[in-house]
Amino acid sequence: MRVGRGVILLLLWLSAPALVAAESRIEVSEPWARASAGARPNGAVYLRLIQRGTRADRLLGASTSVARAVEIHESLMRGGMMRMRPVASLALVPGEVVTLRPRGWHLMLRGLTQPLREGQRLRLRLEFQHAPARDVEVPILGVGAMGPNGKAVGERP
């Protein structure tokens, strides 16, 4: 009996870190890419990220076999000009929805090795600071697509 209680205490002690440590569980939804209008050098991927865990995390970057590099970009208006601002990472705060959408944030595929063709898919690997890397299948929509299923992402009716 004494031994049994000791084992239980030991098990509790061993599992304590797992019980209290915050975890990062990133939900990835509605990924899509815009088809290339011909042989264009760059492309864009949009998606939605939600930290379903309890730990603050960061999207550090991504990679794909169809582009030389993937960069996290924000499109913004400065001094009457639109420009794309690259950022090193994107904060993923628990419970907060981060939507990459046209004219806002996107993952820029720099140096496409092949045109992105509507109806095909590309595979993208997302890298996070804490959560394990995630492979995402990204459907390629039309050149003028504004969001998945013909709707603009994040727009309220």
């Binding site: 209008a37 011909g38 042989a39 050098p41 208006m77 639109m82 046209p102 004219r103 003028g144």
Partner: protein, 190 residues
């Protein structure tokens, strides 16, 4: 707090005075209103063209570049949807995509690019000087060149509508929705 409010009011009044002068957004220079569109460029077939070559058509003009992955495709999509939205009247409109990226956007590159966005969209490009002159006349800014080792392009995000006689009819700044553009087109097209 009160000082800031007065400053805001003064700015607003100043802006309204400017708008009252031409009837357009202050981003539109008065000479564009007085003289209409002016440019000497090349179309995507490689032909030398000027704004006068399009007299008789309504012109809907956007400045961008073909390697643009996010802003230009969405602007052109908005343009296409609005044109489709006004129906038959859109036949009088000649949409133009003027590239500010003279280094990469040759007529051949633009020819491949524009056909994805509208069957009648014409891509225009030109020498650095020609594009500079065109942009200056439209009163807009752009930048091409290396930023931290990468070739980057910054450009305006406006649409301009000119009438068959060449007069500026409407200016649609950054942030214009498809519905607003469509309403603007419907208002001016016969």
């Amino acid at each position: 707090m009160r000082g800031r409010l007065w400053m805001g009011l003064a700015l607003l009044l100043g802006w309204q005075t400017l708008v009252a002068q031409t009837g357009f957004d202050p981003q539109v220079p008065p000479w564009l209103v007085e003289q209409g569109a002016r440019f000497q460029l090349q179309d995507h077939h490689g032909r030398a063209v000027s704004a006068a070559d399009y007299r008789g058509d309504y012109l809907l003009i956007y400045f961008g570049y073909s390697a643009c992955p996010d802003i230009c495709p969405t602007a052109l999509q908005t343009m296409r949807m609005a044109l489709e939205g006004v129906g038959e009247a859109a036949r009088q409109v000649q949409p133009l995509f003027i590239s500010v990226d003279s280094k990469r956007d040759t007529p051949a590159v633009l020819a491949e690019f524009v056909r994805f966005f509208h069957p009648r969209l014409i891509g225009l490009t030109g020498s650095k000087q020609q594009l500079f002159n065109a942009a200056k006349h439209f009163g807009l800014r752009y930048h091409t060149g290396r930023v931290e080792g990468r070739y980057e392009v910054s450009h305006s995000d406006n649409l301009y509508l000119f009438g068959p006689a060449g007069a500026l009819l409407a200016f649609f700044p950054h942030g214009t929705t498809q519905a607003e553009l469509q309403a603007g087109l419907a208002q001016h097209l016969e």
